[in-house]
Amino acid sequence: MKKKTSAGKILRRLRPYTGLLLLALLCAVASVTLTLLIPVLIGRAIDNIIAKGRVDFEAVARILGYIGISVVGMAVSQWLMNQLINIISYKTVRDLRRDIFRKLNSVPLSYIDTHPHGDLISRVINDVDAVGDGLTQTFLQLFSGIVTIVGTLVFMLTIDWRIAIAVVVLTPMSLFVAGFIGKLTHRRFTEQQLLQGDISSYVEEHVGNQRIVKAFSYEKRAFEEFEKYNERLYTVGFKAQFAGALANPTTRFVNACVYAAVGIIGALTVISGGLSIGGLSCFLTYANQYTKPFNEVTGVLTQFQTALAAAQRVVEVLDEQDEADPGSGVIPDCGGNVRIENVSFSYSPDKPLIENFSLEVKSGSHVAVVGPTGCGKTTLINLLMRFYDVNEGRILLDGVDIRTIPRDELRKNYGMVLQDSWLFCGTIMENLRYGNENASDEEIIAAAKSAHAHSFIRKMPKGYQTMISEGGGNLSQGQKQLLCIARAMLTDPKVLILDEATSSIDTLTESRVQRAFAKMMKGRTSFVVAHRLSTIRESDVILVMREGNIVEQGTHEELLDKKGFYYELYNSQFSG
């Protein structure tokens, strides 16, 4: 049931192409009819060639002329049909990919956080392809198959109904055989697919982390384990391949039997005078033609199944709820006053995280957030940016509840650098310009200088025009962080958020970058999350978090004087 609705949803996307689709169907009917007509004409031509001296050349020429016309017509309509279907299917695929992509950019962030990215990408790439192939190509093959079967049947009946019935009775045998083998193979293929998945993840783990494998001299054991998977894949793969390969010869065998049967019955009918030789020749061609679509249809049905499964995965994503964004509020000139009122939040209901949390941050203050891992520091950032919305309470920016402000509007006021430094494939220049399209080259270089990225960028082979490979593989973690900092500096934000933004940068460079930030953020609000206490010593206020709550707050000196949790944290670094 669910499958059907998802297929329906996908089919509805074909609506813009209804005209093209109808045209394609028309071409299919034309090409099939002509394909079927040709053997009849050939048969008639042969009937006019009886024996020595008994050839009606005029009739043969006329009929051959008809055949010629039909052949041209058939070829043209076939090509047109193929072309139309290609256009429809590739455009549908394109539309689907765009829709999923848009969806992924509008679903709540929690969806992306909780779904494996490899799987989502596979939906965008593989599943959409399968849908494209399946729902359009198979649709057409199925259609032309059915037209061929019906057409052949009609043609055969007009020639000789007895032989026709024999063919009709015999052909479904191949369907039956194909179905049986299909069932047999399906299980083995699923098994093979599963093992393939296992072996892929094993390889991904152990080849992906070769360094560690080497460090622990684990190569031999990894190889032995891999061999176990590999051997199993061999056994299962062999069975699957062999079972799958059975279908073709066996259906061919059935067809050959049908062919022989038609030959025998036909010849007997000819002897008893009920059929011409030309009629027989044409029948033999039909016997072949009639059985072929049955084979194809069985093949197509499995492909159709795959397409349906893929469609379901695609529709699953498309059916996701968009992030609600009803707000229309604006903050004309953001001052950077942040107020958090009795906020509660948790990612999953059974694990409470932040409870009844309140905080007031005056415009222009530099706030640092510290605390042990998992205490909710990053969550706080998630809430401020509205990556997630609070469960209870509210967050106010300049006195406006941030849930009433459209997310885009809200985020324009923030500049953010995250722990995971994300850069895209493109030149360094393009990456830096990401947050501010209008930045001039000079501004970009200036920002890179304040982020202390200029010197290493200059040393790269093509300077600012150096391409960053996927995932930024050609840069060290620290360099990536410096680029992200430069990128954020260019946006000239009202509120700055740094979430472990300098964790991989050495402390000297860090303190220089901090000075640049301090200059830029004069009179503006900033939030800094950090592990390194040296990073935050100069902040106006330090929030010490523990288990989702603020346990202490104050300046570095005040907190040390308090001799509380912060004091413990701070001094622990010397106690070793």
């Binding site: 050939i42 006019n48 008994r54 509008s106 360094r211 061919r252 025998i264 998992g374 360099q479």
Partner: protein, 577 residues
Amino acid sequence: MIKLRRFLYDYKKEVIIGPLCKLFEAVLELLVPLVMANIIDVGINELHDPSYVWRMGALMVLLAALGLSSALFCQYFASKASQGAGTKIRRALFEYINSLSHAELDRLGTPSLITRITNDTNQVQQNIAMCIRLLTRAPFIVAGSLVMAMTINLKLSLIFFAAALLIGLTLYFVMSRSVPIFTLIQKKLDRIGVISRENLEGNRVIRAFSRQKEECGRIDAATEELARTAIRVNALSALLSPVTSAVTNFAIIAIVWFGAVNVSAGSMQTGEIVALVSYMTQILLAMVVVANLVILMTKGSASAARINEVFETKPSVVEKNHEDITVKENSAKIEFKNVSFSYGDGDDELSGISFEIGRGQTVGIIGGTGSGKSTLVNLIPRFYDATDGAVLVDGVDVRDYPFALLRGQIGIVPQQNVLFSGSIRENLKWQDPDCSDEDIIKALKIAQAYEFVSKLPEGIDSRVEQGGKNFSGGQRQRLCIARAIVSKPGILILDDSFSALDFATDAALRKALRENTEGMTVLIVTQRCSTVMDADKILVISDGVLEGAGTHEELFAGCGAYREICLSQLKETEAVR
């Protein structure tokens, strides 16, 4: 493709017999129209004998049955040879990748290596099966049909040659034009994959910068380009089947016409025309198969080339198999003698570094981002080889050690805290598969990980997901530390291994390490000076050069670079103690 043939050596029997079976089937198939022609010409036209028709009909069924069984044999051999060769290729790839060193892994890239073991090998495997099954059959059917046609009527067979030539030309035309476009399509699809991945990984940043619209623009352009290219190439390949069928049908028209002339002249019989027509149809079908096969082969050879590329990559760090290593007991544990290193053709990452580390010492290595700290420690277990100078462990050049002996005595905690899927116990047994539970628990305690592990419902048998995703960064780091110390290695290398730990845990861990690593030489790479303050020796690295070596007090007084680092993190009073 040909270069991979060695993987088929064990399947000689299958590779030879398989196609032979297929050939036999094709021969039988070619006989069928002849039998049919006999039914018409002899059974009907001459004898009018139903029993002859029956006999010939039975012969056809018999031919079909024989064909079926030989086809099944062929499939059996094809499956066996292809799966077997695929398995061998996967095994060889995996083993070979294990022998490559870091420099080659960096260059080839792990995601690409993974695809080569999985997708590319599958592609090649499928190709082998296809070749065994079809490569001989289709050309044979074409050739056989031609021969048969020639035996029936030499002159009329000229039409066959003309048709085959025309179809061949069409095939060539379409293939030569479309194959390059197919590679292009693959590239464009990759691009969509890249954009999608970037959008998922960087979703926070994209949303933070409100760049969704621009990102959608990027995907729109990429998908449009793909659709255009795909439609363009398919306009070409869509030609293939209409053109071939038009050519064959025109050939049939010619056959019927000239056949009519011959029959009229008495040099031919009607049944022979019917037979010729069905041979022509068989050629048509075979040609379609050849076309598909050619597409498959081009894809397959691309994969084969990717696999070969791996095999042709020579590991830069080669193991020497010296049986007798004479360890010098009274030498320094680790010694760097004027070591320089560069990755490929770039500037030197390290230059002229010399130092000694005594047995049982704890040494801190400190320096700025990209100063070469990690590179330096990577030279000790020979992840890379020094470009100049020598690294010695126990007085012996590391290049003279067998890998297992060298790496077996080194415990490493890498920068990236990766755990493997399995249980905690399995992960901790990586260095030494025979270590006891007591050893494991002790290591966990030293690594400050026992507290949270023991709270897990299944303790050290708890499952670790791939990459250790079900543990927090700090927990992962502690488990990685435990993994490195469980077998009590002679040398322990901690490469920035405390970055995810808060200061309290960091300190407790260092204390426990010091108390429990009697005789262990410990190298700590870090950016926190508080972490190395108590070390026996501190090495200060800056831009690949050793700026200073000594104790905290010595360096703080005498090394400007070190003093600067300390003061950026600590107050003078804290640093002086």
